[in-house]
Symmetry: C2
């Protein structure tokens, strides 16, 4: 039968399971075992940072515990003889070739353009030592991650079918992220750490943490304890300052910078629980007049007290995160809220300014606080496209979210930006609206964004060559109106790996080539305890290339 021929054909093609695909890779067709005495050693570093030695330990655990069988019919049985008689690799050496040794954690939170993530990986076919080289510990870590994806299990023999391997690799863009909203619904620290682990496996570099919103303020800020005491869903649904340290350290040691977002001046209704004087139209109804989502509530940007409060709060939160970046949000400001707020109107009148001028001053103050702290502000696209903010620094980084079409307009204004467009990267789209009294089956950003859709994204579409240099990278995003820990893994993985590859490897690859590797990602994630979902029937997963239109 023809399909049997096709299966044989595809089985003959070796399918490297690497994700994201390295910039340059050549592989052979020799089987190579991992020796039971296999070890990873360091060269060129005399006093290795603890996070590097930890990463080595984790890698060894993955290598021997993944137990991932090849996704082919027979799962490796057809090659049992050659697997078990293959030469053995006894050692991988990580060769540090940089000038000065920093920890992965330090390097992960450096300025985006200054990070060195490049590495090389060579695995000879004859069992002689494998080598990863890099000029940074972050680069060595990326190399370790690649190394760990090359191996399969057949009856407790760990092997690769494609030695020798020769890789030269570096990311196309420094920002490869995932955004998670922990305000609509709360996610325990363990869920965040598991997500960070998974992100690191596909070499993501940034966890964009939309930590607060109008629904809850789960972030404990030592200087402003009432914010979470009165604004978190409960004391158990709070990120304490030690939780934050834990999460930040977990992320950084895995090459991930935590970009925290304190969304202002909109999306702040919950602050009224602790500081009612700082919030206009808190809980006002009908909410549709005052916000895109209930409960309404925005910081009183015309109030000097509120501006000072917000700047102090921005300072306090930013001091909890080592990142050079901090998002002050700035999306979906509802000006009707301010029109109807007597306090704001009185403040505007007293100062003799318009609401736009007030927003400019507010932004200048909050971003000023960030600059004092040595941080670069990040904002949602409306701040540069819609609100006529003239006080933004040239260093401001913009998140394009409303539509990918808006990237060109942001570039036109000369800002560096991150692709986070709803039409490609919103993981929550396509599950109906969250409102309780409608039978509406479509969400505002329908349809569901498939991994293929994200994978087809072109980061420099409609940009000049010069504008293309403004692209820092991109990310998937999960807004959590209808998500909770129960569906975190399945709604994110393996879909979010699509953007991880686009922004590491560059765009322009086709989904048919990517699919078998993405199946591998999914099953390897499952083996490591992350609930990534099936992309196809298992019949298809073990017959690469057959299940196509």
């Amino acid at each position: 039968m023809l399909y049997r021929l096709l299966i044989l054909l595809f089985a003959a093609l070796r399918v490297s399971a690497l994700w994201p695909l390295p910039q340059s890779i050549s592989t052979g067709s020799t089987y190579l075992q991992l020796s039971t005495t296999f070890d990873i050693t360091l060269s060129g570093i005399y006093s290795p940072p603890a996070d590097l030695t930890d990463a080595i330990s984790r890698t060894k655990q993955y290598l021997f515990n993944d137990k991932l069988q090849r996704l082919v019919v027979g799962r490796g049985a057809n090659n049992a003889d050659v697997i078990t008689s293959a030469a053995s690799l006894k050692k991988l050496t990580l060769v540090f070739q940089g000038i000065e040794v920093s920890s992965i954690s330090e390097e992960a939170v450096a300025e985006l353009e200054s990070r060195v993530e490049s590495y090389t990986l060579k695995i000879p076919a004859d069992g002689s030592d494998a080598i990863v080289t890099a000029n940074s510990t972050l680069g060595l870590f990326r190399g370790l991650t690649t190394f760990s994806q090359l191996w399969y299990d057949w009856e407790d023999t760990i092997y690769t079918p494609e030695a020798p391997v020769d890789i030269i690799d570096a990311p196309a863009y420094p920002y490869r992220g995932l955004m998670l909203d922990t305000a609509r619904n709360f996610f325990p620290v363990l869920d965040l750490k598991r997500t960070l682990d998974a992100m690191s496996w596909v070499k993501m570099s940034t966890f964009h943490w939309h930590v607060t919103d109008s629904q809850s303020f789960p972030l404990e800020v030592a200087e402003f304890p009432d914010l979470s005491a009165k604004g978190a869903y409960s004391s158990s649904m709070t990120y304490t300052t030690s939780d934050i340290e834990d999460i930040v350290a977990h992320a950084a040691s895995r090459g991930i910078d935590v970009l925290v977002e304190f969304d202002t001046p909109g999306h702040t209704g919950i602050i009224a629980e602790a500081y009612p004087d700082h919030v206009a139209c808190a809980g006002a109804t009908p909410w549709q007049n005052y916000a895109n989502e209930l409960p309404a509530g925005q910081l009183r940007i015309a109030s000097s007290d509120t501006v000072n409060f917000t700047a102090s709060l921005v300072s306090a939160i930013s001091s909890m995160f080592p990142s050079k970046y901090f998002s002050t949000g700035g999306d979906e400001i509802n000006f009707n809220c301010y029109d109807d707020d007597n306090v704001t109107q009185a403040d505007l009148a007293a100062k003799g300014v318009t609401i736009t001028q007030a927003l400019n001053s507010f932004t200048e103050s909050t971003h000023g606080a960030l600059h004092v702290a040595g941080k670069t502000p990040v904002v949602w696209e409306e701040m540069v496209l819609d609100y006529n903010i003239t006080t933004l620094g040239n260093d401001t980084i913009v998140m394009v979210w409303v539509s990918s079409d808006d990237a060109a307009a942001v570039a036109e204004k000369g800002y560096k930006f991150v692709h986070a467009a709803s039409d490609y990267f919103y993981l929550d789209c396509g599950a109906g609206e969250m409102l309780g009294n409608t039978v509406d089956e479509t969400s505002w950003c329908d349809p569901f964004k498939t991994w293929q859709k994200a994978y087809s994204f072109d980061p420099t579409a409609n940009l000049t060559e010069e504008q293309g240099l403004l692209v820092l990278g991109g990310q998937h995003l999960l807004w959590t109106e209808q998500s909770s820990p129960s569906n975190l893994d399945p709604i994110v993985w393996p879909r979010a790996a699509a953007s991880a590859e686009v922004f590491w490897s560059g765009s322009g690859r086709n989904v048919s080539e990517a699919l078998p590797r993405l199946h591998d990602v999914r099953f390897r994630f499952n083996q490591r305890g992350v609930g990534a979902i099936a992309l196809q029937p298992f019949w298809c997963a073990i017959r690469p290339g057959l299940c196509v239109a």
Copy 2:
């Protein structure tokens, strides 16, 4: 602020967490504790069946382990005094008022129309004994299920805020189901058992098990061992005969009949692995010419050998399940497959029959085997609407799946039927197509079917009163091309509870009234280890009635 007033207003309204809603319920506003010595006793049964005493034990565990706080602001704190000073309920008595005692398991697999699920429940407000009455152990079990949904936790005091409770209840329809496809992707026994548990919590009565399909044959059939030996994805992805016994017993003891489906003559490509002579166009390409989904393959309905093989196989499988019902499938037959199959064409010529006549004979034989075994055949709608099958028995039950609009045509032909329509009840819709090489964002049955959509279903729409009597009930369905154990709970729950209520309580209720109760379902499921997802931000869940358009 207005929203605070609304919160107070809704907090004052007691929100009963019962799901499905009983036919008749009256509740008071007196708080009542569950005594720490609370017990459940039986009356009228001298030698209680083991599954009833097990159900009582499980109920007690749920009562004390659910630890579900009320979904209101404060989670019960505002009523702490009245909770802790409330009268205590020490005993629930289950009063059997029937003639003869059978086990729940026996009653759960009886003929649909003969099952007695009705019960009454009375809980006095003063702490005197609560009583469930029923004429059947299945009815007592349904009453226990209702009882277990009434209680909340506040700092280890288990209480209800709405005593006295007086309920008279019985289902609107006997068939309230969930269909799961275990052929596209495999689900371990533990996943099925957890799903059966969850189904029982919302009083579902039928697990429609689409156990095999063209992709895999995970069902071990003792008489035909090669089917699973060669057709299961692996030996560990097989339901052994003892697994089947385990699953059937688990289901029946929870009031659930297992309706197994051996889909024929289409959707059988995998049978070619063990019995190539019985399958036409196995794996033929391009698959689109031969099947709605790959791999192609259909039983050779014109071959006497294949007809006899299929009838024997139907007998063998049906003998593994105590149900009075058995589905032979019958959807999506591709006649081009038979046109292009030389063997089938030769068989047709030798017998001098058309393919339709052959399909009639095939159906007569397989259904004949069922009738001999005392079973009622169940088929997909094409068998009565599209294929001109004149050999179907009048007892045949039809599953309406292509469109809810087809129910009237099935009723017109006089068959009893089950609502299983893709436009209301398909849980998999709206996540893109499964094919690997397309960037298509929409699935054939887009959009996603929200719980509200299913809840708005009217089982007797477009039917005469007489035709309405042909409705046996309905079900949600999960086809698993893009599902696996990782997303089983979140893709099914709490959505599938919507049909459970429509077909128990009857239709016509509005989603706003249902939503707070469905939040309760979700959180109670979570407490019991089932990963039901968030329907709304937690802010909304604890403020019933606010998050509406």
